[in-house]
């Protein structure tokens, strides 16, 4: 049987490869096609067959039909700054980061359209300048979150703490996604939008680190500085900080660990006479109190003059790594998606379907859940 040639548009293929962040060589390898063939398709010298075009579409994470468009779409992947702590090499966004940014932006556009049509309240997030005091900004946001500056909740686990912080942030009108970006990718990213701002948190690290990332990205939303953020190992800390990144680190640490509560914890857990925290074991005891990462706790101590940067550099490598073992709980697709997309997204879609703002099938394709799960989506207690 002769090969069916698929009439792709070379300019669209070129755009899709460029937008993916992969090189032509990488896409050829990823799709399992000959580089010479791919170059011929790009140069309109020949056309791929059905199997080849499906492999290309899969590698590019695009529909096959996208490659049949007459010209590249007007919309492009969102632009965010890649920011990092000192010691991390500057780089452009990886293909995986680009893919998840595109996924988040697609969801955000739909959530914003739904929110507008349903008359949802605008996000209750102040706009603050990063030239201002990050600690004061954190206190202001704590008020918006209705988390008292003095009393600090005692969570039974770091996982419970993350869930509580996520719920609080979502209550401000922010959609919080959890994405499996992997340890080689950024810790998280933020995308501002006047109706539904978005934070994505990489699940590659433990709950304490996720909480810090969540609040760090909240800092970027408050500062309206869309970013994808990476953090290096503490021992690698050297060189100058990106001032916006530094502001968000301090903001997140202050939001997570209020000064008054920290001073009480130092007295309770390290002894009433302790004026400075000097070793990692002490940091660990304080971090347990706040269900915060060692990094966040140390940054807060340094900002308050209670520790030095030397202590930060002493923090163990892979301090934010997840504990080994455990494994999955055998969750179904609904549970996985609900956890990934968060309560705000689930709630908005469920109400939008009820109000006939979106069709069931449209909601299913965005949420990627089976029809039988849609009515339960977002309706179960956390």
């Amino acid at each position: 049987m002769p090969k069916i040639a698929v009439p792709i548009t070379p300019a669209v293929l070129d755009w899709a490869i460029s937008d993916s962040g992969f090189s032509v060589e990488q896409i050829a390898e990823e799709a399992g096609v000959q580089l010479a063939d791919l170059n011929d398709w790009l140069g309109a010298k020949s056309q791929p067959g059905v199997t080849e075009v499906r492999a290309l579409a899969h590698a590019l994470r695009r529909p096959v039909a996208a490659l049949l468009l007459p010209k590249p779409p007007d919309s492009h992947s969102p632009t965010v700054g890649f920011r990092h702590t000192p010691g991390v090499a500057g780089r452009s966004l990886s293909p995986k980061e680009r893919r998840y940014l595109r996924k988040a932006a697609r969801l955000q556009a739909m959530l914003a359209a739904i929110g507008t049509e349903m008359g949802e309240a605008r996000p209750r997030l102040p706009r603050l300048d990063t030239s201002g005091d990050a600690g004061a900004a954190a206190a202001q946001v704590r008020q918006a979150l209705a988390v008292p500056n003095g009393a600090h909740p005692q969570w039974v686990s770091a996982s419970a703490a993350f869930d509580a912080w996520r719920e609080s942030v979502e209550s401000l009108g922010v959609a919080v996604f959890l994405f499996q970006l992997g340890p080689e990718s950024c810790r998280g990213f933020s995308l501002w939008n006047d109706t539904v701002p978005v934070i994505a948190v990489n699940t590659a690290w433990n709950d304490e680190a996720r909480t810090f990332t969540l609040l760090h990205e909240l800092g970027h939303l408050v500062a309206r500085t869309d970013s994808a953020c990476a953090a290096g190992e503490p021992a690698e800390l050297s060189g100058a900080w990106d001032p916006v990144e530094r502001w968000c680190e301090v903001f997140a640490a202050a939001l997570l660990i209020p000064e008054e509560a920290l001073r009480v914890a130092i007295a309770d857990r390290l002894g009433p006479g302790v004026r400075r925290v000097v070793d990692v074991a002490q940091v660990r005891r304080l971090a347990t109190r706040f269900r915060s990462s060692l990094r966040a706790t140390t940054i807060r101590l340094i900002e308050l003059g209670l520790a030095s940067w030397e202590l930060y550099r002493q923090l163990p490598a892979a301090t934010d790594a997840k504990s080994a073992g455990g494994g999955g709980k055998g969750r179904d697709r609904q549970e996985v998606q609900e956890d990934s997309l968060g309560a705000r997204t689930a709630d908005l879609f469920r109400r939008a379907v009820e109000a006939d703002v979106v069709t069931r099938s449209e909601a299913l394709t965005y949420l990627d859940v089976p029809d039988s799960a849609l009515d339960l989506f977002g309706a179960r207690p956390a």
Partner: protein, 163 residues
């Protein structure tokens, strides 16, 4: 008046489960077999793929679509027709959607091929409302001079349920 050929979109097969009880919908699917074997009810393979992803555990439409896939998708549209559809209504496609292939442009291509062959055709879809930048299937069909109706309308004219 002779009844048209219906080209089904996934949305109309999905919504049936919320419009009717399971038993009613199973009975409706059984009655839809008649126009299907007569060659008056068709859908592209991408509709079956979407049903497989989204129909869920309680799935009379998917079971029915799988059972009759060979007949219903016999006139699978060519990629050239899909390209021709997208040349006119590119906004019907969401180029950022990952995962299972979106059926819309294939439904339109199938309907267009039948229309060009002189067949009286209707697209059956629930997608008429514009929410994002993506053009609803019903609007795109209208631009291509292909009439479109909802499942309830189709069922009424086939004499399967009242409107």
């Amino acid at each position: 008046m002779a009844l048209p050929t219906w080209v089904f979109d996934t949305s109309s097969l999905i919504i049936g489960r919320s419009l009717f009880s399971r038993d009613e919908y199973s009975a409706i699917m059984t009655r839809l077999t008649k126009p299907l074997v007569e060659g008056r009810l068709v859908f592209p393979r991408e509709v079956v793929a979407e049903l497989e992803r989204y129909a869920g555990a309680d799935k009379p439409a998917l079971d029915w679509a799988r059972l009759h896939q060979g007949v219903a998708t016999a006139s699978q549209p060519s990629f050239t027709s899909v390209r021709d559809v997208l040349a006119q209504v590119p906004e019907v496609l969401d180029p950022d959607k990952e995962g299972v292939e979106e059926a819309d442009s294939y439904v339109l291509a199938m309907a267009l091929e039948l229309l060009i062959a002189g067949i009286d055709v209707r697209v059956v879809t629930e997608e008429f409302k514009t929410t994002t930048k993506k053009m609803p299937l019903g609007s795109a069909a209208g631009f291509l001079r292909i009439p479109s109706v909802s499942l309830k309308t189709m069922l009424k004219f086939e004499g399967i349920t009242s409107f």
